[in-house]
Subunit: 273 residues, 2 copies
C-alpha cells in the first residue's frame, strides 16, 4: 500500500489572496493524483506579519514533504521579507510585474490591491447592483423588468439557471433575469409572450433528463414534476423551441457555471460589436 503524501500549499497575499489562489489552483489542478493541504495567509500588510509567515513556512520546510508557496504580494518590502523563506516561492507578482513594466514603459505602484479602490468603484457598484437585480428577478418573480436585463436565461425549472445568473452578476456585473418555462409555455412552440421582443437576449439552458429528474426528486420525490417522463418531455419541448427560434443553448450537465458564463459573455460581446 502506498501511503498518500499530503503536499502543504500556502497562498500568500497583502490583499485577499484571491489571485494567488485562483492562479495557484489552476496549476495544482494539473496534478489530480496528489493531495494538497491548502492554507491562505491574506492581508499580510506589515513586515512583522511577513516574518511570522516566514517562520511558519520554514517550519513546514522541515516536514516530510516540501511545501508549495504561491505569493501575489505587491508591496516590495513585504515581498522581500517573504522571499527570505527557505521554501521555494512562486512569485506571481515580482517576475511578471517586471515584464509588464518593460512592455508599458511605466513603473507600477507596487501597493496592496484594494478592490474597493478608486477607479474600480463604478465596476464594483455595478456588480452589487447586478446581484440585487438577479435576486429580484430570480425565477420570473418579476416579469415587468425583463426588458432591463442584458441576458435572460430561459429553461425548465431546475436546469441550473440560478447559479449561472449569480455568477454573471457577481463576477461580471451583468444584469441577468430568469424565465422558467412551465407547462403552459409548452402548449405551443412559440416563445412565451414576454420573451418575444427580447429574443436576442435569451439563452436557453438544457440538461439531461436523468439529472433533471434526480434534482427535482430532491425537491418533490415521487411527483409527476420529478418523473423522468415529465423531465424528458419538458427538455424536448424546450430544445425544439430554442432551435426553432434560434435561441443559443447551453447545457448545464456538460459545462460548469464558469464555462457557461464565459460562453454567454462571448456571445453578448459579439452582438454588441
Amino acid at each position: 500500500m502506498v501511503v498518500e503524501q499530503v503536499v502543504p500549499v500556502f497562498f500568500l497575499s497583502d490583499s485577499t489572496g484571491i489571485s494567488a489562489e485562483t492562479m495557484g489552483n489552476a496549476l495544482l489542478i494539473q496534478f489530480p493524483d496528489l493531495i494538497f493541504a491548502r492554507r491562505l495567509f491574506p492581508f499580510i500588510t506589515t513586515v512583522e506579519e511577513a516574518q511570522r509567515v516566514v517562520a511558519i513556512l520554514d517550519a513546514a520546510m522541515d516536514g516530510p514533504v516540501t511545501p508549495l508557496v504561491f505569493t501575489t504580494a505587491a508591496v516590495d518590502e513585504i515581498r522581500a521579507v517573504l522571499l527570505t523563506s527557505r521554501c521555494p516561492i512562486i512569485d506571481f507578482f515580482g517576475l511578471h510585474m517586471d515584464q509588464v513594466e518593460a512592455t508599458l514603459g511605466v513603473r507600477g505602484m507596487h501597493v496592496a490591491a484594494r478592490l474597493h479602490g478608486v477607479g474600480d468603484i463604478q465596476r464594483y457598484n455595478n456588480r452589487m447592483a447586478a446581484i440585487e437585480f438577479a435576486i429580484e428577478h430570480d425565477d420570473g418573480q418579476s416579469l415587468r423588468a425583463l426588458d432591463k436585463a442584458e441576458v435572460i436565461l430561459v429553461a425548465p425549472s431546475r436546469c441550473g439557471k440560478t447559479p449561472t445568473t449569480m455568477y454573471l452578476a457577481l463576477q461580471h456585473g451583468i444584469f441577468v433575469a430568469n424565465y422558467p418555462l412551465v407547462d403552459e409555455d409548452f402548449e405551443s412552440v412559440d416563445l412565451p409572450r414576454p420573451l418575444r421582443k427580447l429574443r436576442e437576449r435569451c439563452f436557453g439552458m438544457l440538461t439531461n433528463p436523468q439529472r433533471l429528474s434526480q434534482v427535482r426528486t430532491e425537491r418533490r420525490a415521487g411527483s409527476r414534476y420529478a418523473s423522468l417522463e415529465q423531465c424528458t418531455h419538458e427538455l424536448r419541448r424546450a430544445e425544439a423551441m430554442f432551435r426553432l427560434h434560434k435561441v443559443p443553448t447551453i447545457n448545464s450537465s456538460a459545462s460548469s457555471v464558469e464555462e457557461m458564463s464565459t460562453l454567454i459573455l462571448q456571445q453578448i460581446k459579439q452582438l454588441k460589436t
Copy 2:
C-alpha cells in the same frame, strides 16, 4: 492636452480564461493612470484557433501601443503556437509549471482545465447547493434552517448582506443565511431569539449612516426607513448589540465583498481548528 493612449490587453486560455483575467488584472490594477482595452479569448482548444489568435495579436502589434498578452494555456502544443506571436507574452502557466513540477518531483498533466472534471465535482456540487441555500434564506425568509447555516450575517436592512452571502456561497461553497435586524430587534440589547444559540456563527455587518440612508433612499425616498436619523439609530443599536455579545463585525462601506468574505473565512477556519 495629453492624448490618452489605450493599451490593448489580451487574455488567452484553453479553458475559461478566469485565471488569466484574475492574475492579469491583479497586475494591471497597479497602473491606475493607464487605460486598458481588454479582450478575452477563452477555449482555444485547437492549433487552428491558436493560429487565428496569433494573427490577431500580430495585427495588434502593428498598432500604436504595444499590447499586453497574458496566457494560461496548459496544453503544450497550443502554448507553443501562441508563443510564436511577435507580441511579448506573459505566460503564467509555462514558467510556473516548471517550478511546481520541480518542487513536487512529478510531471503535471498539461491538459486544459475542466472545472467540472472528476475530483472537483463534489466541491462544485457543494457550491451549487450553497447558492440555493443562500437564495432560500435570503433576508430571513426561512428562519427554520438557520441552524443549518455555517455563517449567519446579521445586520440592519441594506447593509450589504446579500452580495457577501452570494460570494461566499458561489466561490467557497459556504452555507450562509441572513438575519435582517428590524425595529423590534432593537427594543433590547439581547441577540434576537433565533440567534442566541448560534452566536458563534454570527457575523455582524455595519456601514456608515450616510451610505445606508442613500441606499435606502433609492428604495423608498423620503421614508422614515431611509432617513439619516433612523439609519444612524439602527447602526448604533446594532453596533452596541454586536459589541455586547462579542459578535465579530465587518464594515461594508470600508471593505469589498471579496475582502469581507476573506475575513469571514479566516475567522471560521480559526473556530474549526
